[in-house]
């Protein structure tokens, strides 16, 4: 269906029937994503292979793949990746609990929001990087510091999405539920939550992305494991291939997390106008 819709948007293609088969194969979004990524790495490879850029300053994708393979074989990649993932998971979970709760409360009770939102809006512009010194002071070097920084990065997007969603609830829908006799719990689970998911879920996806950036930032400075630490340590050992290998891993994992969440969003919010393009 998606392919049909896309084909409809490109009337030019219909004039060249012999491309139809190729076009159909490339019409799916995942396929296009694969093509885009492959092209990116191919150009990168060409640039380094033709010595347009010094191989020490920018290792080629093949060299990075080799480095990744080595890291995977000796197991260090998995240790670092596991550590980072575990940190982002814990921090993100805390951010979700706090952000959702605060967003719900502030969205529902205007007076509470009048008190709380100025505080949140004043804390929000402080970048997680600026929190690092005081984080180390409070939590030392270790997992707790990383959890806290991920939390800081992720909590604001979660809060804002939840607050906006609750604020934007359709008054008539709430009234409809009330006059049909809905008890508070049914109102919450059957109306309030599903009605706000189209706004909350994209917020969670953005928050996870920010959290993933924060965990790497935290590990660059305040940890002894993790992808950020791998990059930092490799830099000191002049293993530039490993530095970029770490960066590539971060990028691909972040991409995968976002893609998975987007998939879930599409399924959950299939009814919502925003998902029907």
């Amino acid at each position: 269906m998606e392919a049909e819709a896309d084909a409809g948007r490109l009337p030019v293609e219909t004039m060249r029937p012999r491309f139809t088969m190729i076009q159909n194969a490339f019409a799916g979004r995942p396929m296009r994503a694969a093509v885009g990524l492959t092209a990116f790495f191919a150009i990168w490879q060409a640039v380094t292979q033709l010595n347009l850029v010094d191989g020490f300053l920018l290792p080629s994708p093949v060299a990075i793949a080799e480095a990744l393979w080595q890291l995977a074989l000796d197991g260090s990649l998995w240790v670092h990746l596991g550590a980072s993932l575990q940190r982002v998971a814990v921090g993100f979970l805390f951010a979700c609990v706090v952000g959702l709760a605060l967003g719900l409360i502030c969205g529902w009770w205007r007076t509470v929001s009048d008190y709380v939102r100025p505080v949140i809006e004043a804390l929000r512009p402080i970048p997680p990087l600026a929190w690092i010194p005081i984080t180390i002071l409070w939590f030392g070097l270790g997992d707790a510091a990383s959890y806290f920084l991920v939390f800081l990065g992720a909590v604001f997007p979660v809060f804002i999405a939840t607050y906006t969603a609750i604020r934007g609830l359709d008054r008539n829908q709430m009234n409809a539920a009330l006059c049909l006799g809905a008890k508070p719990w049914q109102l919450f689970t059957d109306v309030l939550i599903p009605a706000s998911l189209p706004i909350i879920l994209p917020g969670l996806r953005i928050a996870l992305g920010v959290g993933w950036m924060c965990v790497v930032t935290a590990e660059l400075i305040a940890a002894q494991t993790g992808l950020g630490y791998l990059i930092q340590q490799s830099r000191m050992l002049f293993q530039i291939n490993n530095v970029v290998a770490g960066m590539v891993t971060i990028g691909l994992i972040g991409f995968a997390m976002s893609a998975i969440l987007e998939r879930i969003e599409r399924r959950v919010n299939a009814w919502a106008p925003s998902e029907r393009s």
């Binding site: 359709d170 008539n172 829908q173 009234n175 409809a176 539920a177 009330l178 006059c179 049909l180 006799g181 809905a182 008890k183 049914q186 059957d190 109306v191 599903p194 009605a195 998911l197 009814w271 919502a272 106008p273 029907r276």
Partner: protein, 281 residues
């Protein structure tokens, strides 16, 4: 008009009340006023002023008036979504303070739950009542049939036309078996043909189900076609201005639209309301 009455006499004559016995009065609107404080202008806006009305069980009432006459505000107070600034509304002798499944509402914008299928929407009020699953499904299916949506049980609201959505919303409102059906310009967003069809449909359903209906509209022919009694309201401040008893028999059918009484009443109402309507715009 034919049945004008001063609300004050009813309030005063309450203990005796010879002609309308309190037993059959289901909704008793007593001197209700609603004032909004406008924060921007620091001026109080009077939306309703001294509205009194007695509605009998099984009666079909049309609240007719131009925009700004407070008819929707009155409906929302009857529903329990808002509270009156003064006066009170009694349902079977008890004051209304919050929404209740004995008074369900059909909204102009349908207010269907977009994440639920038609079936789930209709079952919502039954679930709230705590009915077991199988029973819920049965009742919902038969109501969906009543509003001629059989076959669309598993469709989502966004997959249906406006008329179908409003049919689904009517089925949903009927599901908890309310005493009173409150309809807030339910056909206002529909095209003319669909509106006429749904008017006939609601005339049939309300007669069959024997519900008390309060129907808010600014369509004169719609108000007269459907109601036993048309309550005409005037704007700024919202007041009951007039009442028209409709002698047409029930159920109402399409031919009645060409009944001489119907035609002349609609015309008379339009003549009297015209100046206000023009002022409103």
């Amino acid at each position: 008009m034919n049945a004008q009455f001063a609300p004050a006499t009813f309030a005063a004559a309450e203990p005796a009340a010879p002609q309308a016995s309190t037993a059959e009065v289901q909704i008793d609107i007593r001197n209700v006023g609603k004032v909004y404080d406008s924060k921007a202008t620091h001026q109080a806006v009077v939306a309703l002023d001294g509205v009194s009305l007695r509605i009998k069980k099984g009666e079909f009432i049309s609240l007719l008036g131009p925009s700004g006459c407070g008819k929707s505000t009155l409906l929302s107070i009857i529903a329990g979504f808002q509270s009156a600034s003064s006066g009170q509304i009694l349902q079977n002798g008890r004051p209304i303070s919050k929404p209740d499944a004995s008074r369900t509402v059909v909204f102009q914008d349908y207010a269907l739950f977009g994440w639920m299928t038609v079936q789930q929407n209709v079952e919502f009020g039954l679930k709230a009542k705590g009915l077991p699953k199988a029973e819920r499904a049965d009742i919902a299916r038969s109501l969906i049939k009543t509003v001629h949506l059989a076959g669309f049980e598993d469709k989502y609201p966004h997959q249906m036309s406006g008329g179908m959505k409003q049919r689904a919303a009517i089925a949903r409102a009927l599901a908890p078996d309310p005493d009173i059906l409150l309809m807030d310009e339910p056909f206002g967003a529909l095209d003319a043909q669909t509106r006429v069809l749904l008017q006939e449909e609601i005339a049939r359903i309300s007669t069959e189900a024997g519900k008390t209906v309060i129907f808010v509209t600014h369509g004169i022919d719609e108000a007269v076609f459907l109601a036993d009694r048309v309550v005409v309201m005037s704007p700024r401040p919202g007041r009951v201005r007039d009442e028209v008893l409709v002698p047409l028999p029930r159920p109402r059918t399409a031919e009645m639209r060409s009944d001489p009484w119907f035609v002349s009443t609609v015309k008379d109402l339009w003549e009297t309301l015209k100046p206000e309507w023009q002022k409103g715009d």
